[in-house]
């Protein structure tokens, strides 16, 4: 028996979107389990186990597709290496986040089934965004991710959590409306929702409908910028990050942002690249403002979660640089080099973010506070946590021999190669600013005595695993960046 979906054979769909299908099925399965199981069994982390297995299966399926290209429909849903590397990144992050949500006894935090399956759905949304080459699927993917995220942010039983979710929802929905409105203009001018065709038609429509095209693209750009929290579209981020359960904050900072970049690159480089040389300055300006504002505002925070939120805004600025350089490359930027730099930094950033939030999760649980004071004297309480946190922090600031330095180095190199010396200089300057506030925290952890009794803090095994994985990745990518950096340009990025 062959199942046929709207003229698409199941076999073809499986070939292109097997990981998404596995995760979606697992998500629905978990919904059923959640309804059927008694609370005691729920608490035993059954759903987390199912989700982990699904992620591993999906990961293996994705790995086996490398080097292949295929498309669903008239090329509206693509399978190429570009989509695959991002999908692997999303699944890896989700895996770490799920582990992080387990407590000392391997039990799921709060014993909420929806937590697990919404996380899976959010991951699927991110994956759809990476694969989409059609405005419709792109929008649907974006909304799957966003709507799941709104709920996830609001899952904590606290006033802050609901407030963060509401703020995220209001700004996120306005952004979605902007994206949709922009997309409607692009569709109207080109008569197609398919990205590659639209890009081609846009080339012809450019002269007669320039105003409406620009407006449409800008509205889309603004909507995407909200997702990746580019200044000045970042306002929701600190509040939503602070309100969310800490693992979800890590998910938003790492996976959601990476998905935004996947989409941004797909739309503005893959489809509409030819229209962008004139706009190089726009991107460069956004990157610069984001770097400066994110790092500047992080300095004055006393809540570590909020500080990391601002810092992740600053990191988005660094991530925009290779993109800006590529779109505005009058001197011929190297697409594969800069894409590799972007992806390298995304992966490095995801690892250190996951690690830092993992440490924060454990510390906040013990200290019942996310204030910087909770970190005071952490070295005496848990040398592992203090050491790991120090590594993640200096990696975010860009200390040599950590992945943060290697990533910034490649990004700055791309900027220098295309003549944006001042941008590289600004990266260095904001990095110095970052050192200022990160070192304050490191000093607090190592050189000051803890407040209250100096009992040692246990780290749950699953969280310790996340910390160690992130630590190994952060140092490994810093010592031998070549391992990853050399395999990336060899990929068949967009299936050319």
């Amino acid at each position: 028996m062959t199942t046929v979906l709207q003229g698409i054979a199941f076999a073809d769909a499986w070939r292109v979107m097997a990981p998404e299908m596995v995760l979606t099925a697992a998500g629905f399965l978990l919904m059923l389990i959640d309804a059927a199981l008694p609370p005691a069994a729920k608490r035993a982390g059954v759903s987390t186990g199912v989700a982990l297995i699904a992620l591993l299966v999906a990961g293996v399926l994705a790995l086996r597709r490398f080097g292949q290209t295929a498309a669903l429909g008239p090329g509206s849903y693509l399978l190429d290496d570009y989509a695959l590397v991002f999908k692997l990144l999303f699944m890896g992050i989700t895996l770490l986040i799920l582990l992080l949500s387990l407590d000392d006894h391997g039990r799921a935090e709060g014993a909420r089934g929806e937590y697990t399956y919404l996380l899976l759905f959010a991951t699927v949304g991110a994956m759809v965004m990476a694969s989409s080459a059609d405005l419709v699927t792109l929008f649907v993917g974006l909304e799957i991710l966003s709507v799941s995220s709104y709920v996830l942010v609001g899952l904590r039983r606290s006033s802050k959590s609901a407030e963060g979710a509401m703020k995220y929802l209001v700004i996120g929905a306005i952004a979605s409306a902007c994206v949709l409105f922009g997309m409607s203009y692009i569709y109207g001018v080109t008569g197609t929702t398919h990205l590659a065709e639209a890009g081609y038609t846009l080339f012809q429509a450019w002269d007669s409908y320039r105003g409406i095209v620009v407006l449409g693209l800008l509205l889309m750009l603004a909507g995407f910028s909200v997702k990746i929290s580019v200044v000045p579209f970042h306002m929701w981020a600190p509040d939503a990050y602070e309100g969310a359960p800490t693992p979800i904050t890590a998910f938003l900072a790492a996976a959601s942002k990476a998905a935004g970049f996947a989409m941004l690159v797909r739309v503005f480089l893959y489809a509409f690249a030819s229209h962008f040389p004139e706009w190089g300055g726009l991107w460069v300006g956004l990157a610069a403002v984001t770097m400066v504002a994110g790092n500047l505002l992080a300095i004055v925070q006393r809540n570590v979660k909020r500080m990391l939120a601002y810092s992740s805004i600053g990191q988005a600025g660094y991530l925009l640089v290779p993109f800006a350089v590529l779109t505005g490359a009058y001197h011929g930027g190297n697409l594969y080099q800069d894409m590799s730099a972007l992806y390298f930094y995304l992966a490095a950033y995801a690892l250190m973010t996951a690690g830092a939030f993992a440490v924060l999760t454990v510390v906040a649980k013990h200290a019942r506070s996310e204030d910087v004071d909770a970190f005071t004297g952490l070295f005496r309480r848990s040398p592992l946590l203090a050491g790991a946190m120090a590594v993640f922090l200096v990696a975010m600031a860009g200390m040599p021999l950590t992945s943060g330095f290697a990533g910034k180095f490649f990004i700055a190199l791309g900027a220098i190669n295309t003549g944006y010396y001042w941008l590289a200089g600004l990266m260095f300057l904001t990095s110095v600013m970052a050192f200022a506030y990160y070192f304050g925290l490191v000093r607090r952890m190592y050189l000051q005595e803890p407040y209250g009794p100096a009992e040692s803090w246990r780290t749950p095994a699953a969280a310790a695993l996340v910390v160690v994985v992130a630590l190994v990745g952060t140092i490994g990518l810093g010592v031998a960046p070549g391992v990853m950096m050399h395999s990336l340009p060899g990929l068949n990025w967009f299936g050319q």
Binding site: F139, K160, E163, I174, T193
Partner: protein
């Protein structure tokens, strides 16, 4: 048949009204409704283009269907969060959401 320009103008006006409402109304329910208005303005655009556009085709209507579904989901989640918020805060005023700032 009315020219496409008037449909587009109506959509733009609706979008702006929605945006204005979302940014000024005090009641969260009205804010959510205003956002609905923005999404529907976009839908109007899509439908207009799919009927009267430069190269009119059915894709716009399909897109419109998808976006209506998405909008429904968004509002449902919005109301759910609003209920959670109301339980905590006993208020549906946007201005009361000020625990986190700076």
């Amino acid at each position: 048949m009315a020219p496409i320009g008037s449909f587009l103008a109506l959509a733009a006006i609706l979008f702006c009204i929605g945006l204005y409402g979302a940014l000024t109304k005090r009641n969260i329910i009205i804010v959510l409704l205003s956002i609905e208005l923005m999404l529907n303005a976009a839908n109007l655009n899509l439908i207009a283009f799919s009927r009267l556009g430069v190269s009119a085709n059915v894709a716009g209507q399909v897109f419109g269907l998808f976006s209506m579904t998405v909008a429904a989901a968004e509002v449902a989640v919005g109301l759910a969060i609003l209920i959670a918020l109301y339980r905590n805060r006993n208020s549906t005023d946007v201005r009361d959401m000020n625990l986190m700032k700076w």
